[in-house]
Amino acid sequence: MKTEQPLVKIRNIFIQGRSDEDWLPIINGIDLDLNRGEVLGLIGESGAGKSTLGLAAMGFARDGCRIASGTVEFDGIDLIAADAATKRSLLGRRIAYVAQSAAASFNPAHKIINQHTEAPIQHGVSGRSESEKDAIELYRRLRLPNPDEIGFRYPHQVSGGQLQRAMTAMAMSCRPDLIIFDEPTTALDVTTQIEVLAAIRDIVQQFDTAAIYITHDLAVVAQMADRIKVLLKGDQVEESDTRSMLDDPKQDYTKSLWAVRSFTREEKPLASEDELPVVRVRNVTASYGTVPVLHDVSFDVHASRTVAVVGESGSGKSTVARCITGLLKPSEGVIEFDGTPLPADYRQRSVEQLKQVQMIYQMADTALNPRKRIREIIGRPVEFYLGLRGKEKTERVAELLDQIELDPDQFMGRLPSELSGGQKQRIGIARALAADPKFIICDEVTSALDQLVAEGILKLLARLQDSLGLAYMFITHDLATVRAIADEVVVMKDGRVVEAGGKTDMFTPPHHDYTNLLLSSVPEMDPDWLTELLDQRGVDNIGDAAIERMEDA
């Protein structure tokens, strides 16, 4: 085989997407080369066309998209001109794809291993028993727990991180020459992400597979890729190998991407002992039915300060928020607001009490009624709480839109579907502000957003806090966010507070074991970070495995 020939060769490709009746450009003439055994990182904001380009490397365009011109060659085969049979023989066999959400991509009605063996059997690579054996071997290499048995479960019976690794194993089932990873860890917790990253990197190296790794997380791509290509709105910004890209980015856009994580706020001095906290959570214990979720949780939130509640999914951080808002009645303990206890059920709270506690949601898509215009979404709380109507109401809405840096004339009459993700989140903030509250719960407000957009939201929240004296409770699993915005940190695990204190203290050792694990699992921009961490902690002492170990001890 000619080794000097690149495995994938894309030349001057133009891809268009259908919008109503026009074809709009998604990719404008990009070249891409990928050698055997090489990992190429594709990064950019959402809408930059990175997934579309990744799929184009398979000769595939999503529904509503088309490859308008250009060539895609895979190992000398022209994929655009290839007939259906040729493509069928390549896809799954020599080219594999790992999707962002493994949970949504597995068929819930079939056992994992049956889905794994489908491709090898279909392509005639191996028989059923043989490929099952191979699957178990791959599960072992990817360090899935109980490799002999895990494949015989249904997708809903394993955790998200395990499913993502099972999907990587599935992509490996025919030992392809090329795997396309489309944001495989974006939906995962940091501690789980690190396991998946280590597993993917390991197995790609072992089998010398070429890969295209699509992500918007720079720190992740720094660990995985040999070369990085930066995309912006369908155009290539720059491309070079990982180290020189990190050390010496050429273009301004790349530099701005690199600078994202630089936003931090000084920790404000601790509030004095006798100052009354805005919200005080006192010894709250709660359960869903008979399943206990919170055990004796206590913390205070003071005016103009941000308390970050961190922990993995399932640690009970969102449940605390539900107790504070009154959606879940605690079985013990009380929530105090300005020194007076709030009724446990939101239905028993007065309008004034409801007004003071507002919430900003993680998914702006489901938090805004898709059939209402921005004017109504923000106008309703203005009318409901402040009793403003007509012209006064419109003025107030315009003022709020100004505060969140959106032009009132332009946005007032729009529907949520006509906004970008970041703009939707800003509307969510405006709706909370419309009530003129003292306390706002921010539930993972930035985790669904790109880093650049997320930074804008964090800056906005910080500015609003300074000008309006708001108290925030910031629920997140992203420690970079915590570092940026928090004054105090509460670390939760299994419904308990394991550590709490000021931000500076929290980020200086010694830590509780769990905090330490969380902190060390946050990817850094250094390309050697993962290697060093694995050397330091050992491959079996990261992620879930480390947590299990902690519980045994």
């Binding site: 009746e21 007939d83 259906a84 309008v351 998914m363 489901t366 009624n369 059939r371």
Partner: protein, 394 residues
């Protein structure tokens, strides 16, 4: 047995010719590259489909021009005329009107345009029945059993284009008035069914708990009884109450069918409502302290329009068929009011003459055709709306 052999051999022959067609298409170098690719990627079933289409066209041609079978010719002519009319309507809509309506028409499939056009025609005929119908629905003439066509030699009469029934009533007038009665009553019934069903469905979804349990189990119990039989039973009781007051019977019928059909609407509204109630914006509204009525009418309802509207079209068809069926059985819309179900029943014995005199057999088929056409039209529109609403979710 012969039929089976005949069918299998035809299927085989079409299959083989389809395969040959595809193979030949792949071997031939076509002048256009697109055609080359088209044949290369053509699945076998598409090739067979082409051959089947050709066979079908021949069959149509044969029966139309050679056998000259009357009903078949009518069907083909009707099909062609309606297609042409709806294509014209479609083209008209694409070029005339506001920007929004033109865009709507551009994205609309031809079937939906056909459906909308047919519904408009029905609506106009029904609403202006008094002006458009040549005679009154109860008017009796001395000529009975006049055949349709208006050709005196063939037993028709130019005064009665579609003929008269056994009592000498003009069928064209009765068809038009029948539309008014049948469609009008069906429309009212459906609206009532939606008012009841959607209100209870959304309440059950929002309140949950015991309210949901009580109402849902009650609905389950009602749905366990076959609808037509239940309706017959209740109508019999209602008829006894109403005595000889025919208007009252119609009113009872509307209420009974509406209540029975609202069970289906309830199920849909509840399911749709449950999906909406879990959304964060509902939680936000609840935490704001909004009242139940605001939650249901301002937050939930706007998001449930699409599925409810689609269901409205479908439900309308069912209600309409139920009324026609009840009238056919003699307890629906009462004579002398014209209605399509009754017309089919009254004229049904003429269907026996189909072999000797197709024109005579056409008498009951006209009312039946009116029912069928409206049902098809409504379903075309519903399909399109369902497609639209599922597209919105993406």
């Amino acid at each position: 047995m012969d039929t089976v052999v005949w069918l299998i051999s035809w299927a085989l022959a079409i299959g083989i010719v389809g395969g040959v067609f595809r193979f030949a298409g792949q071997k031939i170098r076509w002048p256009s590259e697109q055609l080359n690719i088209y044949f290369r990627d053509m699945p076998l079933m598409v090739g067979i489909g082409f051959v089947f289409g050709v066979v079908l066209l021949y069959v149509v041609f044969h029966y139309y021009f050679i056998e000259k079978s009357t009903f078949f010719r009518w069907a083909v002519q009707g099909f062609v005329i309606f297609s042409a009319a709806s294509w014209l309507f479609w083209t008209f809509g694409k070029h005339v009107g506001t920007r929004g309506s033109r865009k709507l028409f551009r994205k609309m499939p031809l079937t939906a345009a056909f459906g909308i056009m047919t519904i408009i025609v029905y609506a106009v005929l029904s609403i202006f029945a008094g002006v458009l119908a040549p005679y009154g629905q109860e008017e009796i003439f001395d000529k009975i059993n006049v055949l349709p066509g208006g050709d005196l030699a063939a037993g028709g009469d130019p005064r009665f284009l579609l003929g008269t029934d056994q009592l000498g009533r003009d069928l064209l007038s009765r068809l038009i008035y029948g539309g008014q009665n049948t469609v009008g009553i069906a429309f009212m019934t459906t609206i009532l069914a939606f008012l009841i069903g959607a209100t209870f469905g959304f309440l059950a979804a929002t309140l949950g708990g015991w309210f949901d349990q009580v109402v849902s189990r009650g609905v389950d119990a009602m749905m366990a009884i076959p609808q037509l039989i239940f309706a017959l039973l209740l109508l019999t009781i209602a008829t006894a109450w109403a005595g000889s007051n025919k208007g009252l019977i119609t009113l009872y019928m509307i209420v009974i069918i509406a209540v029975l059909d609202s069970t289906r609407v309830f199920r849909l509204a509840r399911a749709v409502g449950f999906n909406i109630v879990v959304m964060d914006y509902i939680e936000a509204a609840k935490l704001r302290g909004e009242k139940l009525s605001y939650l249901i009418f301002r937050e939930i309802l706007p998001n449930a329009y699409a599925p409810l509207l689609a269901e409205f079209g479908l439900r309308f068809c069912f209600v309409f068929l139920t009324i026609a069926a009840l009238s056919f059985l003699g307890i629906g819309i009462q004579p002398p009011l014209a209605d399509w179900g009754t017309m089919v029943r009254d004229l049904s014995q003429f269907i026996n003459f189909a072999q000797f005199s197709p024109l005579t057999a056409a008498l009951p088929l006209m009312a039946a055709g009116a029912i069928a056409l409206l049902t098809v039209a409504v379903n075309f529109v519903v399909d399109w709306m369902l497609h639209q609403s599922s597209g919105l979710k993406d």
